[in-house]
Structures are given as structure tokens and as C-alpha cells.
């Protein structure tokens, strides 16, 4: 009965998020492009030349998918955590909470906003990468689906962080102390086959490893991890995080007294 109203509500949230991303593009789109350009220059070009081949590709080609995925992850997460927490802190989240928008739709709307920024930055970084190296496209469906699913996972993670956050420090802790280390140790810059067996096992506990490798498979056709396992892990995270966000919203944790 409310399908049409829900669709309009969803579009409103997404358009609001897109308008925010574009309005403050100097904070949302430009910094990751500059950072990734520096990564390509320093790690890819200057240091990478001395490293030689990795899994049959020159180092610049090998790290490019990982760097694109790193941008998608950090920007999807960063978009939702800052937008949702900003709305909570500024109290204008109440605009949505008093409206008939169901909780799942508020989550989906913000998730779509986070995915939009993740993908915009991902595309921008891909274009930058093409200035430094040649990228083949092994499988478009795998590349796209992994990028979309990963950005959805980290948008939801950002939302959960924002739900719990009480002050601005709380939205910086997870990206700084958890997300960044996991990303760096998630096979962006190296193949886990280079690690001793023990550290390979430890690395396999890192979910970002599966996402980076699945995406690398989509572009280069090489991966340290089986594609099926990677999709399964991503889907499990997607379902668990969505359910958690929904449960928190229903209970009103951090948003209702």
C-alpha cells in the first residue's frame, strides 16, 4: 500500500545524500583522489619499479585494484558515518524519525548514499590509475558486483558506527584504529602468498582481504582467495550488518531516548 510513498522517501534520502556529496566535493571527492595519486606515484611508480613482478603483473598494475577498493571502502564508510552522525548531532535526523519512513528504508537510503560516494571515488581513482598503468578488465560482472557489495557492507558499518557514536571522536576511532589497519593488511599492497604460513592464516581472518582479492580477480584475473568464498564472506557481512543496523534502529539505540 505504501510502496509508492516508500519509493519517494527512498529517492529523497538518496538525492539529499548526493546533493551533500557534491556540495562539499572538496571534502568528499577531492581528498581521496589526491591521496590515491600520491600512492600511485610513490608506491607504484617510484618504489614499485624496484619490486618487479607480482603474480605476473608489474607492481603498479597489481596494487591498482587494491587502491581502488581501498577508496571505495573508506569513502562508503566515511560518507554514512559522517552524514548520519551529523544528522544525529544536529538533531535533523528527527525529520526522518518523525516521518512514516520505515527503519529499513532509512538504512537503505543512507546505504545507497554511501555506495554512491564509494563508487564515484572508485571511478575517479580508476581514471587516475589509467594515467599510470594499463588495466585490463577480466570480468565486468565480478568487478561491478564486488565493488557494489563491498561499498554496501562498509556503508552499513559506517551507519552502525554513527548510531553508537556520541561525539565526533567516536566516528574517527573505528576508521583510524580498525579500518585503516585492516585495509593495509588486506592484501592491497602484497599477495598473502608472500607471508609465512602463520600470517597467511591470520590474514584470512581479515574480511577486507576477500573483498580486495575478489575485486583484483575482476580486473586482473588473479586472486589469493577463491571467488566463491569471497562472495560468501561479503554476503554474510552484508546480512549481519543490515540486520544489526535494523535491530539498533528499532530499539532506538543512540537515536531515541
Amino acid at each position: 500500500m505504501r510502496h509508492r510513498e516508500n519509493w519517494i522517501g527512498f529517492k529523497t534520502i538518496v538525492l539529499k545524500e548526493l546533493s551533500r556529496i557534491l556540495r562539499i566535493w572538496m571534502q568528499t571527492l577531492l581528498p581521496p583522489v589526491i591521496t590515491m595519486t600520491l600512492y600511485f606515484i610513490i608506491f607504484g611508480n617510484l618504489i614499485g619499479r624496484r619490486i618487479g613482478l607480482m603474480d605476473g603483473f608489474d607492481y603498479m598494475q597489481y596494487i591498482a585494484p587494491g587502491l581502488i577498493m581501498m577508496s571505495v571502502i573508506t569513502n562508503s564508510y566515511g560518507n554514512v558515518v559522517s552524514s548520519f552522525f551529523g544528522a544525529k548531532f544536529g538533531k535533523y535526523l528527527e525529520e526522518m524519525l518523525v516521518s512514516p519512513l520505515p527503519n529499513w528504508l532509512i538504512i537503505l537510503g543512507h546505504m545507497a548514499g554511501g555506495m554512491a560516494r564509494g563508487l564515484m571515488v572508485g571511478i575517479a581513482v580508476t581514471i587516475i590509475a589509467l594515467f599510470f598503468t594499463e588495466l585490463q578488465l577480466h570480468s565486468l560482472p565480478v568487478t561491478l558486483s564486488v565493488a557494489l557489495l563491498t561499498s554496501a557492507v562498509f556503508s552499513l558499518a559506517g551507519m552502525i558506527n554513527a548510531i553508537f557514536a556520541k561525539k565526533f571522536d567516536d566516528i574517527a576511532i573505528v576508521p583510524t584504529f580498525i579500518l585503516t589497519p585492516l585495509t593495509y593488511l588486506g592484501g592491497v599492497f602484497y599477495s598473502i602468498n608472500m607471508l609465512p604460513e602463520f600470517w597467511q592464516g591470520v590474514s584470512r581472518a581479515n574480511p577486507i582481504l576477500y573483498m580486495v582479492n575478489a575485486f583484483r580477480h575482476g580486473i586482473l584475473g588473479v586472486s589469493d582467495i577463491g571467488l566463491g568464498t569471497a562472495y560468501a564472506i561479503i554476503m554474510v557481512f552484508l546480512v549481519v550488518l543490515f540486520t544489526t543496523a535494523l535491530m539498533l534502529m528499532r530499539k532506538g539505540v543512540g537515536i531515541r531516548d
Binding site: 505504501r2 529523497t12 544528522a87 544536529g90 528527527e94 525529520e95 512514516p100 530499539k251 531515541r256
Partner: protein, 315 residues
Amino acid sequence: MKALSLIGLEKVYANGVRALDGINLEVDEGDFFALLGPNGAGKTTAIGIITSLVNKTAGKVEIFGHDIDQELEIAKSMIGVVPQEINFNQFEKVFNIVVNQAGYYGIPRAEACRRAEKYLRQLELWEKRDQISRSLSGGMKRRLMIARALVHEPRLLILDEPTAGVDIEIRRSMWEFVKGINEAGTTIILTTHYLEEAENLCRNIAIIDEGRIIEHNRMDRLLRKLHKEIVLLNLAGPVEAAPELDGYLCRRVDEETLEVEITDQRGLSALFEQLNSRGIVVQSMRNKSNRLEELFMDLVENRAGRQQAAAEGKS
């Protein structure tokens, strides 16, 4: 039909504070209803529960017969709320704030834009539509929240201290506007600390104190309960002491002002006769405070006094 029914509504916060202690309240459709109470009485908590910003501990809330536990989305679609605190994105444009709110209620964009224009014009904000909301004055921000609350044309409008901090000219124009909205059929619940505002606008009233409804009545019936009125008399010349007046309590405020308590049984004529006989000429007269204010203070202070007496009795 009841626009709002609260049945045994309770709220105990995590820190143990009992904000609502089983309140029962009914508001008729089309009413202009005042919900008054001192700070911390539980008004905003009650409004928070009605608008689903606060989780209730126990009890039932129905909006036009729709239970918020069973039909939350339908119930929410019928309510518009103007909160006490500014709660819009201060970096967003005025027009977008209203149009986005319409979107959250499922109103298509073309219709949302039409309604946004209508309400922004009515609230004299149309010229500011492209401004960032942060740049608006305090009064304009309040009016923007009213436009936002009306854009989905709710059947029940809740105004939580809508004129707080607004100058008298804007306050009066806002009164006229909300009167018009009510006459067009929207039920309005108003909380305010300006009791003159409640007395002028509202037909029915409830007074809440320490989480309980201590009075729920028609405004005119409630005001009839007030058996006394205190007036201030500005005198033509100075007096050294308050005169002894038969049947009136009189106090000297300063050398040219007297404060007199007038009860139902004694009119004004006898007062003036007695003053004239003592050679005291009254130049002008005004009420010390408005009638509702006196009644409100009586109710709240009497309750506090009774509680204190009970506590002393126990100890």
C-alpha cells in the same frame, strides 16, 4: 473522534527518572489544546512519545484511533510537529528543507514544491527560499519549522513552545496563522510558557506536573475556578501606607502603586468607593498577571505544598 488518546502512559528514563507517571489524556478532533506545565513536568517527553522520538515504558498512544504499537507508520503520517529546539540542517537551503520533508512523507516532488511554496509564502519566508537556513533570524527559523511541519498537511499539529524567544509582533502573527490552520480543521496541541498565548488560543487545557495530569478541563471552566484576581492600581498621588479596605486585601507596592486582591464576591465599584472616600484617586489599573497564570501557579504551588506537608508528616 479523538485526535489523540494517551492511556496510562509511563516513561522511566535509564537514569531512573520517572518523567511520566501513568497519564491519561484525550484531545478531540478539531480542538486547539493547551498542554501546560513547569519545566521538567513531562510535556516534551509526552510529545516525544507521541512523535516516536522517545520510547515509552508503558501505556498506549492512539492517533485518530491508530495505535502507535500496531500502525506506527499510519499514525506518524497524521502528525506534524514543531519541536522546542531548532532541528533542521543549518547548512541546507530553506526550500530544500521543506521539500525534503515532504519527500519523507511520500509526497511526489512536483506536489512537494507546490506545497513548499504555499507554506513558505504564508509564513513570509518565500523570499528566503534559496538562503542557507543558518542565516535566518530566530523568528524565521521557528516559522520554517512550522512550514516544514505543515507540508504533508497533517491532521494533528503539535507545537512545542513555537514562540519561545520570538518578539511580540512575530508571535502575534504566528498566533493568527495557527488560528487559521485550526479553523481549517487541523487539531492543534500547544505547549507554551506564555500563558497568555494558551488563554487566547486554546479551548481545552491540561496541566501536567511531575509526570501527572493535575488538571484537564475546558479553558473557560478552568478560568472560572479562579475566584480572585490581583490588580495593580496606579495612583494620581503618593500614599504613605496601604489603606485598610473593607473586604479587600491591599498592599503598598511603592508610593504611587497599590496591589489589591479582588474576590468573586466583591466587585470593583465598592473598591473605588472606598478609595474615593479616603481621597485616593486611581489613574489607571492593570492585572498583575493574566488569569491563567495565577491559576497555573496556584495549582502547581498547591501541589508542591501538599507534597511537602505530606513529607513532613511522614518524618
